[in-house]
């Protein structure tokens, strides 16, 4: 834990206090500024993740016809099918672990302590009780600008940053920003069950975070909101509004029901492909690490659905067509989109 403090908590905490000193002694502004700075610093990692996922998705598309052939060939021998599938993945350089492949893991390992450090620094700096404040003395550098900035001001707008928001505005903002951020990067699924699960998660996660924000010090709520809005802005400038204004393809429901039997045969051997199709790349989710993981989990389901369930997929239709069965592009016509 000391190493964590030395490498992450102490620098982040001191920088946070330094920022509050620079930003008109406002700890709320310091939280927002540091959240944005951390997200910007994380951008190369986010882009790296994106490239990796793109590469994997492209490789998946390349081997898709071969996979279909294998499925047909070994339809009655699941064990052999699995072996051959794994062999094919190996040849194509695809990790069967999907999101758990080494670049992804590395990215997560680097991001995780930074986000935890930021999270803990906010709690630590708001030292409310005398012993919290005493504890704070052990994490500070002997910079005069830091000691002069203490204790940080707990007042920000209508909030006392050490207490929950009495007017429940923050929880609503947290839920809204998280929902928008997730909706932008979530591909509508053609499987009603998957779509239902995806929709449930889209609602459940923001609600859970809203509930947590109800009882946490509002300084952390500010962090959640700033992080969510930062994600929305980053995603907008890279991909436009994404799927924010796209509705689920309800028309496909009947068609898909006929394919369920096929899915049972092949679903067990598919790798946990984690990202959307090449035309639906995404950056990290609305809430940093958590958002990433959930987005990936959801992405994996969608990929499975695409590859396994679509009858068109069996006929060699491209993933692009399957993911957007009605030919719809991201978002509304005219919305910005930059695939770079």
């Amino acid at each position: 834990m000391d190493i964590f403090n030395l490498l992450f908590l102490n620098p982040i905490l001191n920088f946070l206090i330094l920022l509050s000193s620079v930003l008109f002694s406002s700890f709320g502004l310091a939280i927002i500024a540091l959240t944005i700075i951390v997200r910007v610093i994380m951008m190369p990692l986010t882009v790296k993740q994106l490239k990796t996922s793109k590469k994997m998705t492209e490789s998946m598309n390349t081997i898709k016809p071969k996979l279909e052939q294998l499925k047909k060939k070994f339809a009655k021998n699941p064990q052999k099918l699995q072996q051959e599938t794994m062999k094919l993945y190996k040849e194509a350089g695809i990790s069967p672990l999907g999101c758990l492949s080494s670049p992804m893991i590395l990215s997560l390992i680097i991001q995780m302590p930074i986000f935890f450090g930021l999270y803990r620094a906010i709690i630590q700096a708001m030292a409310v009780t005398p012993q919290d404040f005493l504890g704070l003395s052990q994490y500070l550098y002997s910079w005069s600008v830091v000691t002069e900035a203490l204790p940080v001001s707990g007042q920000f707008l209508w909030l006392n940053l050490a207490d929950p928001d009495p007017y429940y505005v923050l929880p609503i903002l947290v839920a809204a920003s998280m929902w928008v951020s997730q909706k932008m990067i979530t591909q509508p699924s053609t499987d009603p069950q998957q779509q239902s699960m995806s929709s449930m998660m889209q609602i459940m996660m923001p609600l859970m975070f809203a509930f947590i924000t109800l009882t946490l010090p509002s300084g952390l709520g500010i962090y959640f909101v700033a992080s969510g809005i930062a994600s929305i802005v980053i995603q907008y400038f890279i991909f436009g509004w994404g799927n924010l204004f796209t509705r689920a393809p309800a028309k496909q429901t009947a068609e898909l029901k006929t394919t369920k039997a096929d899915k049972g045969k092949a679903g067990s051997v598919m790798p946990s492909q984690t990202y959307s199709s090449p035309q639906s790349p995404k950056v990290s989710g609305g809430f940093g690490l958590l958002g990433d993981i959930f987005d990936r989990l959801k992405g994996g389901k969608k990929s499975d659905t695409r590859a396994d369930e679509s009858p068109k997929g069996k006929e060699g239709t491209s993933a692009k067509e399957i993911a957007n069965p009605e030919g719809s592009k991201y978002g509304k016509p005219g919305s910005k989109r930059k695939d770079g």
């Binding site: 030292a127 005493l134 002069e148 050490a162 899915k263 989990l297």
Partner: protein, 407 residues
Amino acid sequence: MLSKIKKSLRLGKLVLITLLLLSAVTMLACTAAPSRGWSGPVVDGNVLYVGTIDGKVVAVDISAILDGGDEEPLQWSPKDVGADTGGGGFLNCGRVSQPMSMYGTPVVKDGKLYVGTYDGSVLYIVIENGAMSDPFETGGAIAGSPVVDEDTLYVGSANGKLYALSLDLKEKWLFKTGDKIWSDPVISDGVVYIGSADHKLYALDAETGKEIWHFEADGAIMSTPLVVDSTVYIGACDHKFYAINAATEDERLEAVARPEGEAAPEKQAAHVFDGAGNWFWTQALTYNGEIWVGCLDHKVYVLDAASLEKIREYETEGMVYAPPVLLEGRIIVGSQDGNVYAVDPEDKNAEAEILHSFEAPIFAPLYPDLDNGIVYVHAQNGEHILYALRVATKEVVWSYRTDSISE
């Protein structure tokens, strides 16, 4: 059927991971310690009083326990609020300013025991019959001790205000500082000195509460000032220890005559010691032209009272929160490392001797019982235990767990 089971499993896994991740993030975030309280003991007559983490006051007949008796101490609950010492909120990490513990040392005056509680109340208990007064609500947490001078009680609050109350708890005046007050006021020659987290030490007229002057440090002032002759000594969170000329009678009269709204002058420090490695949190002690002060850099500094030049220093293995006390010709110091140290101040080459190791951090002020050669130590490490340590023999003659009081 199989695919349904698989989907259920996937969904279950998803929910499980969700919960685990949320728990991990939230628990990592919830590192702020709940309020504990570190009330110091005080002896009046043959009775020792101490506040508890439960928001209660324990009264112990020390003549009985020092004779080897096992009398059960008296317990009073100033406010019927239970023993809420947690943080509250989700996973107990939400609002942390709620608990009802006691930080300040109680004070006895005219048969009444005055206490300040962390929920912001000041009240008194009539010692004879245990009757309790209605509380005076300050609206902010009280982490310092109330101080009584003649017919006035002074107490600081985390709402940044210093209150002067009559002994029946009616407000006489209040003075607003720019940030929280966690220390004790000191009254000397009709002047109240109080430090605030707004980096300032204020000198106020004790009668009217009018500001005589203020001194501004480079960091928050959480320690209690020490007034010796015509000098005020105070340490701050800027790693510095200051000596400031005390307010004169002329300055006091000038302040009283100053029109409302006119700013009080700013005082400069006469001397500064800036050789410490961390904050000063405790009140200093004066001994024979020397100033002894503990520091969060684990050291106790001995400074020349006239110049604040360092004479020598003693190192402990933990932060020194509690002020040093003088007992039987020795300076006694409690440290976060759980040790109580003793130093002979006359022997300039003497090493600090460990009197006793309690293996529990010592936050609360020690109380030196001069009549019995006992130092009372309220140590806390999960359990809050009050010890009576006989300095001459280094023997703990009595102990009592203050946070396990049954109703």
